[in-house]
Symmetry: C2
Amino acid sequence: MKRTIFFLSDGTGITAETLGHSLLTQFEQIQFDKITIPYIDSVEKAQQAVAQINHAAEKDGVKPLVFSTLVNPEIRSILANSSGLVLDFFAAFIHPLEKELETKSSHRIGRMHGLVDYNAYMTRINAVNYTLSHDDGIGSKNYAQADLILVGVSRCGKTPTCLYLALQFGIYAANYPFTEEDMADLKLPAALQQHKAKLFGLSIEPERLYLIRQERRPDSRYASLAQCELEVKKVEQLFRKENIPYLSSTARSIEEISSSLLTTLGIKRRLS
Amino acid sequence: MKRTIFFLSDGTGITAETLGHSLLTQFEQIQFDKITIPYIDSVEKAQQAVAQINHAAEKDGVKPLVFSTLVNPEIRSILANSSGLVLDFFAAFIHPLEKELETKSSHRIGRMHGLVDYNAYMTRINAVNYTLSHDDGIGSKNYAQADLILVGVSRCGKTPTCLYLALQFGIYAANYPFTEEDMADLKLPAALQQHKAKLFGLSIEPERLYLIRQERRPDSRYASLAQCELEVKKVEQLFRKENIPYLSSTARSIEEISSSLLTTLGIKRRLS
């Protein structure tokens, strides 16, 4: 069974995709063909979108599912006449909100990911710069500025998590890879000892680490299963000995790790 | 006027926040105090959330707005009895979807940002690695692997845009900063000339560039307004002469730039 899915937006389409994906994950037995149509900001573009939807309906023999965050009433009414099942986020929630807030909504399009103020932009950029210049143990003298320091063995997912935190939330996220020597002594390096409250550990299943390291340096000692097992065992001992909160990255997305660690350390986002 | 907003989720809370933010941007005259409560996966946690909502309602004297992506029916019914205005994303859309798809939804919690398969994880990691090792003109010999090469003057927003594309969509995004020499000749360097179809330009208002560069190297020639004006003028001449599609980053978010350039170049995402 297969369905065509449309994400319609007067902006980037990111919100329509996020909302649509979260609903579609509830129907995992069905295959979906996904099409995003962003920047629908005129009657002509709305009519083109309707033509695309109707074409898919004819081809598939079933209604396409249409997730829409369109705001403009005229454009929404054009889409309402398509052959798709239109799930209109704006229609569902804006009226109860207007009533409760006793305010008319602005009905302005492209609001969500369209606007940027200079301060928010600089917060984001500065966080990305900090994170890039404190990746992989570099710049450990400047940890006073860090919001958090992610620690763990090489290739357990520290760098992408830190970059996500910087881009999404404006967090100053440093990371430090434990070396074999750090772990042999079961002792935190001095640069970390000073900032212990900012530490969060990432662990990983040895088998997963082995796969990841094999892609990077096939057949090296570094990528051997024995080495991966040893390092993971040691790093978890160190986390426990030093009372560093940690979790495993094996079955978690970067989003989930980020959300958990901000909650655990009680770190306030600089962007929301 | 001020309102307390709650984002409730059995997962990270990202979908609830996305939904809520996109609706709240329609009411810009109102100030919102935002609280995310993630991982509500038990009756006790649901009751704690209700207590928090009721406390805010009493303190504010008006109903808090509650954006919920909770999936479990028992937990949702507990929340429905809070003093907040509950906007229940799941309730609004899952029934029409079940009816159209003639399938019961799985009602499983934490689906959206919780699961990861190994291939999707590696696509993301490999894209981040590629992007980091092809930042700021480095690695220009490996542009054959790039999905796109972002070009522009120093500090116009190339690096954060490339990192966003890598993390969000698994795109191999290189970037190359034009030097004064490149622009003086109005000529593309050979490494770029070979991959012209992958080029996308970023421009920026000189006044904004000046502000950004002043934060980086105050009072340098590099950060002077005259230099910023000259570079922006030259780079736009080069874009036009070489027919490189470009847009200005001044009033656009990273999300919007990313979405536009993928559409313009017709680049397929590696993750969706």
